[in-house]
Symmetry: C2
Subunit: 379 residues, 2 copies
């Protein structure tokens, strides 16, 4: 497989050739499971897109056509990619990398390619030199699987992480961002490694720990002891224990570096708790509980809070990485971009980026963008 | 304090002198917080009991009287114990042992004394030679505290662990058991050490682990990274993080031996998960998820399932520990006793124990009791 960008790709500049954005987009979907099928349904229903799809399972592809998710069932990934404006690679985690490579080899220079895998560092590193690829991860739909559960509102208000790199072509990033908001999602730019650490902490480690709790109670207790009455704290903490064995084995392995770090850190924190208990350090335990209560409150308060939005207009020079720099600076501050436009100057040496952000966060967003060296004016 | 039974106590035999069970009981409650106050309300409302109470905080005691939970506000624990048939020590965990000692010193030979602390091995060991004491632990009401939240239906269908010992006086155990079912609870006999291990696994360890998850995400992640969108698995797993700092510090310390064992075991299981991930052992991870899914299903299926009950009549000889042997044998099998009677023979050398158990479990219960050497007949 060809993991490096073809010479025809156009990495770097904010503007790439072609593509009239007034006409409905052509969207290619590789893999029509729950996520791919829902992208297809939403793109057709909400954006009037033409959806071309391929799936290794002919039955799933047929069902997708029957459900009205797909206009054209392609014979191969390359055929599906054809003249697509945007390609979604919605393959199982283990197949994402090779499928993206295949798609990039088949796609033209004005096609943006993204994936929906739950880990991002691997794929970002593998394709970081191709300006057409942007890693993605929608936080939606883990409980069920398959085209039969696909819905056109699956991404309504859902966070959708994007991992732009310095090489990402600005106009292609803008196109993908706008298409995602059109599906109802809230795109948020994040560094790929930071994404994987965050997912390890808020999703993968809780699954590991739920397994540990169940296997402790089930295995470590004397089989002659009565099974205890399961209280609400145990039930809540173990709801995801043993979920989807094959899927979760792949997720653990795909995010191994970050997850191993999280397990290491959690183990050290268990040792801390053990030490406080061993010492009979009541003051230390009270302080620990209090500290955790404050941290929990802060985490809960950090949730997204959609409100009225306002536009900022940013004058940029056309250099590689401009869009990634802006999107990541706001993403790091937890500021979502509800809409994003890019207007290159006629000679393509500069341009104006339009950013729609929460009105309450506009001042902070403007300061962050100005700190990058770009003049900002209200829209 | 006097931790050993007074000479007037009557350890061992199934029958103890006195006490006409037809008249409503006199119940003493030492400590009228959420649990003590709810015992008082339920005993008056459901059993027509006379409730005498004492609390170190005069305001709480006044409120208990005003709320109609208490008939007589006593000036001291000894005065409250007076002529009580049953004494509930509902003191904070750190004060349970000394308060039980005080109460046993003040109580007569025909008084059963119990506590409601969430750990049992300590108190069981300290008073194991006094036939009047039975350790207890209702699984109810951890979310709020104080007499103002007390309710007469707090124990409706709630599991209420009891830890009888070989020395426990049979008639006193019967009286306590019947009073608890009268409050709406489901008493279940359990070995004190097994109780503490079970609580460590299903309650205390989940609290420790919830703290670890929150402090990991809050502390281990780079403060420059965006706070991640908190998903449902994290929210569920950390609902109890940082709960009631002083209360939980005391609970951790009171159950230190069992909890340290649980933390040790959980740490070893984390190492197991880490090793599978480090090795890239996909088959091992899939097998682990599958195994946990089966264990979780078994734990869920083990929950109490109240149905029609049936009576078993057990002929017993009057020797120390008979009631504890029977109650613990059924408790170990997870068989709840919804009602319990004890009819001593006129010469007090033998008697008949009536056991009401789930109809579906009657055969298993009869086999277990017969295996102890006692003839069983249907009621």
């Amino acid at each position: 497989m060809n993991d490096t960008p073809s010479d025809s790709a156009s990495p770097g500049p904010i503007a790439a050739p072609g593509g009239d954005r007034a006409t409905p987009p052509v969207v290619a979907v590789i893999g029509v499971g729950l996520i791919g099928g829902s992208v297809a349904l939403a793109a057709r229903a909400r954006l009037g897109a033409t959806v071309v799809a391929w799936d290794p399972d002919p039955a799933s592809l047929r069902t997708a056509v029957e459900r009205g998710a797909v206009d054209v069932a392609a014979e191969s990934p390359a055929e599906a990619v054809g003249k697509a404006d945007v390609v979604f690679v919605a393959a199982p985690l283990g197949a994402v990398g090779d499928t993206v490579a295949l798609v990039l080899a088949a796609a033209g220079p004005d096609t943006v390619v993204t994936d929906v895998g739950s880990t991002k560092a691997d794929v970002a590193a593998r394709f970081s030199r191709d300006g057409r690829f942007v890693g993605g991860h929608p936080l939606a739909g883990a409980e069920t699987a398959g085209i039969t559960h696909a819905r056109d509102d699956l991404f309504e208000q859902a966070a959708w992480y994007l991992t732009p790199e310095g090489t990402t072509t600005g106009t292609l990033y803008e196109r993908l961002h706008r298409l995602l908001t059109g599906l109802g999602a809230r795109p948020l730019a994040i560094d790929a490694a930071a994404h994987d650490r965050a997912m390890a902490g808020i999703s993968h480690l809780p699954h590991i720990v739920a397994n540990v709790l169940v296997s402790h109670v089930s295995g470590a207790l004397d089989p002659d002891e009565p099974l205890p009455a399961i209280g609400p704290s145990f039930r809540d903490a173990t709801r995801v224990a043993g979920a989807h064995p094959a899927l979760w084995a792949d997720i653990y392995l795909a995010n191994a570096p970050a997850l191993l770090g999280a397990i290491e850190d959690a183990s050290a924190r268990l040792v801390h708790a053990r030490t406080l208990i061993e010492r009979g350090d009541r003051d230390g335990l009270v302080a620990w509980q209090r500290q955790v209560a404050r941290e929990r409150e802060a985490l809960q308060a950090a949730g997204p809070d959609p409100g009225p939005t306002t536009e900022l207009r940013v004058a940029v020079t056309n250099r590689p990485g401009v869009m990634a720099d802006i999107a990541l600076a706001l993403g790091r501050a937890g500021i979502g971009i509800s809409d994003l436009t890019l207007s290159p100057s006629p000679d393509n040496t500069a341009g104006v980026v339009g950013l729609w952000v929460d009105a309450g966060e506009a001042q902070a967003a403007a300061a962050l963008v100005q700190a990058l060296g770009f003049p900002v004016t209200p829209g």
